[in-house]
């Protein structure tokens, strides 16, 4: 990595670690290798959202041209959100693409993602199925996002029993739990449609 990227990242890591950021905003970073090309980000699910109580992990890859090119950031914790792929964790956020600015930092990027968790942009979706559910069936969206938070992000809410029963039914048919949750979520928890989707 170039000198400029390394120097800057070292300062940025200090910024996130020392800023008493963890208690105030719930963002954290974890350095995975010495040359700082791969970093793990953590975001606490913001209160008053379906993500509250969860801890979401992100993979951050720093390109050679950093900070003149944006970092590559994606969720590695599965999350049900209109602007995040429910399959791959890829995030649709303008500042990670064409609206990147060299003055942005790991801290501001993580804070922006946290803000995106509070305010989804369904008109510019990364996952069209999630976005459609968000707009057409907001109650189902909320329940689904909460279910995902409990299942994948160590959320401490009670698990939605009705949803869990349907997941278990699919599991009894030999479907992996993760796939069962994903397919049911995409089919608004209609078990018949989910079964048809999986077995046809």
């Amino acid at each position: 990595m170039s000198n400029i990227a390394l120097n800057r990242l070292q300062r940025e890591c200090k910024e996130v670690v020392t800023n008493s950021e963890i208690s105030e905003t719930g963002i954290m970073i974890e350095i995975l290798n010495e040359n700082l090309t791969e970093i793990k980000g953590h975001i606490r699910g913001p209160p008053d959202t379906p993500y509250a109580g969860g801890m979401f992990d992100l993979d951050i890859k720093i390109p050679e041209q950093y900070p003149f090119s944006p970092p590559n950031v994606k969720f590695c914790t599965k999350i049900w959100h209109p602007n995040v792929s429910s399959q791959t964790g890829v995030i649709c956020l303008d500042i990670l693409k064409d609206q990147w600015a060299a003055s942005l930092t790991l801290r501001t990027v993580l804070l922006s993602i946290q803000a995106l968790m509070c305010t989804p942009e369904p008109k510019d979706p990364q996952d069209a199925v999630v976005a459609k559910q968000y707009m057409d069936k907001p109650a189902v969206f909320k329940a689904t996002a909460e279910f995902w938070t409990v299942k994948f992000a160590k959320g401490h809410l009670d698990v939605n029993k009705e949803y869990q029963t349907r997941v278990d039914k699919l599991k009894d048919m030999g479907v992996r739990e993760e796939e069962a949750i994903s397919v049911l979520s995409c089919n608004n928890w209609d078990i018949n449609r989910a079964t048809v989707y999986i077995f046809s």
């Binding site: 400029i4 120097n7 800057r8 940025e12 003149f68 600015a101 060299a102 942005l104």
Partner: protein
């Protein structure tokens, strides 16, 4: 350095050497050997002490006029430090002020302007207005 000001108020006296006492007069000894000793400057004092300053170590501080108290928004170094490409700060690593009044190390903003995603027209990394260098 034309664009710099030396702030008089921060001139400091450093490295006084050690003080020897002989009778009632205090003397600051110069520690470097070969130069002919300076006769020294007598300091007025309301006490009985007779202080003769033979050597002062003056140090100045400079600041870029365009920079203010902030750090460069691109490399995150103080404006008075060199950018991450340069070894030494100063005239060889100057600042540039945009028409939006945001300043950066010249080398940093030049790299930003040259980034492929910022062609043909770059914006200020801080306020996203079209980047244009302010006339001095």
């Amino acid at each position: 350095m034309e664009q710099m000001q030396v702030d008089e108020s921060v001139m400091k006296v450093e490295e006084p050497g050690h003080v020897t006492i002989s009778n009632d007069s205090y003397e600051m000894e110069t520690t470097t050997g070969t130069q002919p000793p300076h006769p020294g400057v007598h300091l007025e004092s309301k006490t009985r002490l007779q202080i003769v300053v033979k050597k002062l170590h003056v140090c100045g501080e400079w600041k870029w006029l365009q920079g203010g108290e902030d750090t460069c928004g691109i490399c995150r170094m103080e404006f008075e430090s060199a950018c991450n490409i340069c070894k030494f700060p100063g005239d060889d690593c100057p600042l540039v002020l945009g028409t939006c009044r945001h300043a950066f190390h010249r080398h940093c903003i030049e790299k930003w302007i040259a980034a492929p995603t910022n062609q043909p027209k770059a914006q200020c990394p801080l306020c996203r207005q079209d980047w244009q260098v302010a006339e001095p």
